[in-house]
Symmetry: C2
Subunit: 350 residues, 2 copies
């Protein structure tokens, strides 16, 4: 080919939130796949599983009983990666061996009393309750002055390391600001200092004008495939208003986010007609560390599937050692996600 | 616990090569695992597979015939992620949509004529031939002035996206310097400017004195678990001499690297008595871009297994969105790898 085309020529794109590049190799999606395929799990689960530590009324690893809850329910993770009472420690030998202690609180949030549902199968009202619970948890963790960042996330599907199919997410809060947030803070701060507008406000304006990567929008949120997406069907949900964290969401924004989540996760499930795996989470301003005016709330979805319900993208040798890499273009992914029905495929079967 | 202990209290460690932190949660390795397990693949493969595109004499996807080679063999990847003739292109809309073309050459390197062997099952002499082939390929790619970086790597095992069990690696070379190399260049340059000694020379000295994370050493190379290792049994091979790239390896260094590779991959296989999966690759100075005196050659091994041949570490929600995280300590991993036999478990069975 003698002219460069974004949809077919190999190129790099800049992730403006982290400052890192991603390599795009669109022509490569034609390569045949003879490697590992994933096992599709039987989705016929009961509404209540007596052995599930998330179901209402059941006993957890620490011996406590879950209450007979009806919608969302939050508790401290029995196998927390971070502990509240870690003693203070810091060491530095010649700038070569550098370490410090880390305190934190890890929580689990059940999305539904029903063992056999997933986010897209809940009603917008039920998802709004989850958003309200996230907001409430964020606010109460932010009241602890030693907590500097709160990471709200979900691992969905066993392929994403999720060990219990009961619909749930996690909240890890900690005493230092994690790496990805440091990167995004720096980039947003620099942009805001120059333009007096948040980086994502400017980016949203451009994307809404171009319409090439928009998947969905409602009154308060836009769902899009970012120009620099790394995972095949990676998306972002961005608030239309420049808000730094979920504690500032209005009632209207809470139900709009629920609507955006329902539409996006339904389309994901419909893409390959399977319970679509992903890791997703909110990025928002650190807490107890100043103003963070530059910060613009958003949520990332990182789904691993590439070609079908059983063939994923492997982020391995070149990707781990050198540079993030993708095959299909973000525009191709956005097109597919834009055109898919909002009616969940399981509903169609009835 | 009232005193801080590196081997049991949650903490962070700094990766001095990238400037990024890793969260260590040693107490968490006690958590029971009920999630996804990996399938062990039947390892009874024939020495020659008529359908394998890497076996001698067979036909490849582009119609070419492999020669009747006996040891290593290199050819251009039929499904290259990078192409040599991509037209030049660069665009930047308001610093928000930033992209440029990427040219490159991707090669495949077969490690053996025999379909059923892996690196640890080759002799040191056979592996030395592979090292010599890497050196030769590096030199000839570096002669092309538009190539700025050469990434030599191997994805081993289907869990690492390897789609053909025939022992082989890859070489991706390209017109810009990839992200991980940019990060390591900056950190090494800063250290070298201040200390007039390479960052890894200073680090090696400290580790050789402490002996806590050393796995193996010979005349020219040290194998260790870095203080900031992210993957459970991550290791690095570091050259004792401050050399910036493989083209400068002496005959002695080539066979010493082969010896280190044989010992390390044998111990990996012995750890869980399985063909141990990993992505591994060399990091070395960029080419055709100046002197890079600060650069110190090394090789990273990123293996996914955590508890057994079938339970891996999932780098998912928190890890992708917030911060790299590990459970077992680097010192625990180093201890296990140090104490394991150098006799391959398959040999013991005979
Ligand atoms: O080139 P291969 O072996 O077909 O592909 C494998 O290695 C590549 C480089 O790490 C990755 O981009 C692919 O996802 C992986 O499946
Ligand atoms: O906490 P879980 O669900 O047991 O564990 C899962 O999510 C964590 C946070 O992303 C990861 O560290 C684990 O590797 C993964 O298996």
């Amino acid at each position: 080919s003698s002219t460069f085309e974004l949809d077919s020529s190999p190129h790099r794109r800049l992730n403006i939130l982290t400052g890192e590049w991603v390599l795009v190799s669109p022509h490569r999606s034609k390569r045949p796949w003879q490697g590992q395929t994933e096992v599709m799990h039987d989705e016929d689960r009961p509404e209540y599983d007596p052995k599930c530590y998330l179901c209402p009324g059941n006993v957890r690893a620490d011996g406590e009983l879950n209450p007979p809850y009806e919608r969302g329910f939050v508790f401290r993770n029995d196998f927390s990666a971070l502990l509240e009472d870690t003693p203070v420690f810091a060491s530095n030998e010649n700038d070569l061996l550098v370490a410090n202690n880390q305190r934190g609180i890890c929580k689990v949030i059940s999305f539904s009393a029903k063992h056999n549902l997933t986010l897209p199968e809940l009603s917008v009202e039920e998802i709004t309750d989850i958003v309200a619970l996230w907001q409430q948890e964020f606010k109460s963790l932010a009241e602890l002055e030693w907590i500097k960042y709160i990471q709200i996330f979900e691992n969905k599907g066993s392929i994403m390391g999720c060990s219990n199919p009961h619909p749930h997410g996690q909240i890890w809060s900690q005493s230092d600001v994690p790496m990805e947030i440091l990167k995004e803070t720096e980039r947003q701060k620099n942009y805001y200092a120059i333009h007096r507008e948040s980086l994502l406000s400017a980016y949203l304006k451009l994307e809404l004008a171009k319409k090439e990567r928009i998947v969905y929008q409602n009154n308060h949120f836009v769902v899009l495939v970012p120009f620099w997406a790394t995972w095949p069907y990676e998306t972002m949900i961005i608030s239309k208003r420049h808000i730094s964290n979920i504690s500032l969401f209005t009632e209207g924004e809470k139900s709009s986010l629920a609507d955006a989540l329902k539409v996006l996760t339904t389309r994901y499930d419909n893409l390959f007609e399977c319970s679509f795996p992903y890791s997703a989470g909110m990025h928002q301003a650190p807490v107890n560390g100043g103003e963070y005016d530059e910060w613009h709330w958003h949520m990332h979805f990182y789904p691993p599937l590439l070609r079908s319900a059983t063939v994923k993208k492997f982020m391995v040798g070149y990707e781990l050692l050198a540079n993030a890499q993708r095959d299909i273009t973000p525009e191709f992914a956005a097109n597919r996600l834009r055109e898919i029905s909002d009616l969940h495929y399981k509903m169609k079967l009835n």
